[in-house]
Assembly symmetry: C2
Homo-oligomer: 356 residues x 2
């Protein structure tokens, strides 16, 4: 176990070593450490080496001039200037919130960015201002649309954060696939098979091969197969891609540049836009009804769902519960970084002369 | 086969018989006929008798005074005055579009409405104005959250309509469950079993019993079980419920009033808000980037996905293709109304002295 505050300081120093400002390094580290605290190990400091790799390949600008390139009172497009998505997305959310304060809601499409970490972090930035927060991003193509043999979409997550009153806020944050790619990597490390319904092989057949995505297969959309609604997961992932990519002027579909998956993803030279895109939004609760009424009703909603008759010993969870439970535990116990992650951090420490 | 224009005229007359204005009757009929034309038979004139039943129970106001009860430049809440959702939702979309024209986007939460038919109809109303349209609604509780034995959510559909250039527009429109309840009704009529992954029984176990929902079981969220991501379908359905119900001041969760499912759904007297709710939105494309650029990129997106290498003889479809294919066929061939639907229409015709 590793104390999260020590890992945080280390992560900040690595980002500063790349040339990031102290403020940006702190923010970027906060996004990553929060992923680890929330139990989303695949999106935490395990990815730090990936961001450094982006820098090494000239794809990351540590001192970006993030700016609004188009706007109306409630919408904007932002050019991330090849900055860390970890920094560009919170900037975009601030713009969305500012617009929401003025005209009720704010919606920001982002181009020319990079991987932004966990979507939930950014969506949750709206909650303390009594707003509903939205965050989505596309990512490198690992996912096959229904009936496709080709990978054309990323795992394209959506997060929606909704304030409550006495209850902790609601936070849905999920990939639009049956599972995120991180789950496949865990199976690979353990030498285990995948459940049917997570991936298909290169011929488009169901498979339990945890290496299928590397071997010409693809991750399946949420729903798994057509009979169980994979066209819905595909449709949802497509909406995320279009709002993040086509609407912002970033790349889209199979042209979204790779991040963590570099190495087996076929990097195409063709570009149809600028970098990676995101889509963020904020809606003021009191743009619709008095916020006290809303928040009290949210408490009723949450308590009704939480107290539902449940199967065996599995209580019905409210979206966000799992992350909160992890966080409460890990803030005390520390982060259970796996061997390979520790190794990658030690290497970074050596390279940048930062003690881990 | 029944000529759609004849069924349309008949449907208009029935709505007028309830006291609806000519304009409202035409609009309501248009929503229903479009469901039938698009192949969504469960949401077309098969539901006409259901709307009449709502009227008979005093839950439907044929001459509603639909009005904005709260607003900011980009948001509004509308009271549907117990009108037909088929009429209230298009009104709400007009408000959303008007706001989008002024400030870039418009978002409308609706309370005190009724079933609004197919979500896609309302979302698509934005497309001809070069806007992205959103429509969602909650509905009566038929769905079990992950690990719940109780039905707390409706099939809560989401639709997103996105304009393209030379290609027809993109339209994702789907229930946030593995299947819509209409699919179970078809199996019931045919005396067939359901695939595992669509429903659970009263104990929360997987079942192939097509009558399970009537017998204490429930529809499963998109994803099916926890291992295949049912918590994602649950989270998405929950977001739809909160935006439609809690945000508008309508009922929510298990308190959403029943519609077509009246009869086996346990109607509770308790009310936590006003009627049924919806959530609609419109975003101006040129609030983000020049619309010509966006629409040309959408064509590239669509053509790339449509031409993907595919499995067997199943081409990769663009969301909206299936509906369009049905429509092209049925505008010529007519509507294949089933026996029970025809029977219900004949009964309505007799009661209201309208020839079918």
């Amino acid at each position: 176990m590793f104390a999260s505050e020590k890992v945080r300081k280390f992560t900040e120093k690595i980002f500063k070593s790349l040339g990031c400002s102290t403020k940006d390094a702190k923010l970027a580290a906060d996004v990553l450490i929060n992923a680890d605290l929330n139990g989303v190990d695949s999106h935490g400091v395990a990815r730090l080496a990936g961001y450094v790799r982006l820098y090494d390949h000239g794809r990351l600008n540590p001192t970006p001039n993030i700016k609004i390139i188009h706007e109306t009172p409630s919408t904007a497009t932002i050019d991330g200037d090849r900055g860390l998505g970890l920094v560009v997305a919170p900037y975009a959310m601030q713009v969305a919130k500012k617009k929401a304060k003025k005209v009720g809601s704010g919606w920001v499409s982002v181009q020319n960015s990079n991987h932004f970490g966990i979507a939930g972090y950014h969506a949750a930035l709206a909650v303390s201002d009594d707003m509903i927060g939205w965050a989505m991003t596309h990512s490198a193509p690992l996912v096959v649309p229904t009936f496709s043999k080709e990978k054309l979409l990323g795992t394209n997550p959506i997060a929606v954060a909704i304030p409550a009153d006495k209850e902790p806020f609601f936070l849905a944050d999920f990939a639009t696939t049956a599972v995120a790619y991180g789950k496949m990597e865990i199976l690979q490390r353990q030498g285990k098979k995948a459940p049917i319904g997570w991936v298909q092989d290169e011929n488009g057949d169901p498979t339990d091969n945890a290496n299928a995505v590397k071997e010409g297969g693809g991750l399946l959309p949420l729903g798994g197969d057509r009979e169980h609604g994979s066209h819905k997961g595909y449709g949802l992932g497509a909406v995320v891609d279009i709002l993040s990519g086509v609407l912002s002027g970033a790349n889209f579909g199979p042209w979204v540049p790779p991040f963590a998956t570099a190495g087996f993803h076929d990097v195409t030279a063709q570009e149809v836009g600028k970098g990676t895109g995101h889509f963020l939004g904020a809606m003021r609760i009191d743009g619709f009804r008095p916020k006290e009424d809303f928040k009290q009703n949210m408490d009723i909603w949450i308590n009704r769902f939480r107290s539902a008759k449940h199967i065996d010993d599995n209580p019905v969870q409210i979206p966000g519960d799992q992350e909160r439970n992890f966080k409460a535990e890990r803030e005390i116990s520390g982060l259970p970084l796996n061997e390979k992650v520790v190794e990658s951090l030690l290497e970074l420490g050596e390279r940048f002369k930062v003690k881990f």
